[in-house]
Symmetry: C2
Subunit: 193 residues, 2 copies
DNA sequence: CGTCTATTTGAATGTACTCAAAAGCGGTGG
DNA sequence: CCACCGCTTTTGAGTACATTCAAATAGACG
């Protein structure tokens, strides 16, 4: 079946009929991304929510001094967008780039709304998705304000081993909120101990 | 009407019939809290999600060294719980305390599930609630990893002026992830400049 | 009034950043 | 296949940010 990956993701939380599968698939636009390509660029309207069929993506913000902060990584079977700007159809705060050749399945805002209207149980699906995302971010906040850099680094590589393989040290540093130089030093001290 | 505050909160996002209002109200348990009282204690199963009718609450974690980290504050018209432990019915990571005499309206986990089953549009309501919570936490992560302590403090007092009035400096420091001594110094420097 | 906690202040220490330079690594073109 | 380029990673010195500990002051509350 076409778009089997996203249907299987959906069926982790709700059960859907054959006719509903077809309906969902009819709304999806697949998009191939080359390494380094941006799906979303800071300042542009965020039109789509993206399901990662294959590859690796990174969402990050660049501040006025040019400093990058990584908000999230997404690999196979994850959803990624600039949620605030997607839902409010505002200029994006985030860039989203492909870290390697990737394939995403896109839903436009209006299509998601029509999906809620036509198949109400998708409210449930996205409720669960948002719930998990909230819990994840809240735990990350707790880590940020209560753990040392070394502890946060260790937790990151233990929690997301598949991501660690795909991204640079520099990007992990910008996810943890430290400089690459400092992360390098933390790792040296750790291996010395 | 009884529980008018929570009905009005719900009607910010979905419209509900009179009969549905009655149904919701029948599921609610109001609970009066005295200043200092805990609604939830770390290690106990988190049974309820709490809507704040009046007063101020704080959710915080205490680590093995006894250090407190504040996850969130909640005032009138906010929802608060340890979401992960509530949804999974696990021992709580968080304490939730009343910072002043407060009144909360509680929903038990099984009651929320029955609500989803009986009135599916509550899936939509909580989808929107979770969505907003996710966006808020993600923005807080971005602030944590990209801004200075002074910038985060200024943003906090500007974003949540009603909360600032109710909570101590020490609690704000534990929300920002710095020591009270350091926050005090930041404020002094700021007023000097 | 006295007690308890929060807040402020300061000194000493540790954590993290900046800047600069060297070393490592991957990709590209000749 | 090798040489070169650009970027990442490492290393180090100097500086700034943040913590710890201790003590003084100020506020809140019974």
């Amino acid at each position: 079946m076409e778009f089997a990956s996203i249907l299987s993701n959906i069926q982790k939380h709700i059960s859907i009929l054959e006719v509903e599968k077809n309906h969902v698939c009819s709304l999806i636009t697949p998009r191939k991304l080359s390494k380094g390509e941006l799906v979303l660029e800071q300042g542009r309207i965020c039109n789509t929510i993206n399901f990662v069929e294959s590859g690796t993506l990174r969402a990050f913000h660049i501040n006025k001094d040019g400093k990058e902060s990584t908000i999230m990584f997404a690999i196979m079977d994850w959803w990624i967008t600039d949620m605030y700007c997607f839902l409010n159809q505002r200029p994006a705060l985030l860039n989203i780039e492909a870290l390697e050749d990737s394939m995403v399945l896109q839903l436009k805002f209006a299509q998601l709304e029509s999906l809620y209207r036509d198949i109400p149980k998708f409210e449930r699906f996205f409720r669960i998705l948002m719930q998990n995302a909230y819990i994840r971010e809240q735990l990350r906040v707790l880590n940020n304000i209560s753990l040392t850099t070394e502890e946060r680094y260790l937790e990151f590589i233990q929690k997301y081993p598949q991501i660690v393989q795909k991204v640079s040290q520099k990007q992990i540093a910008s996810y943890l909120g430290v400089t690459p130089e400092f992360l390098s030093m933390v790792k040296r001290k750790k291996s010395a101990s």
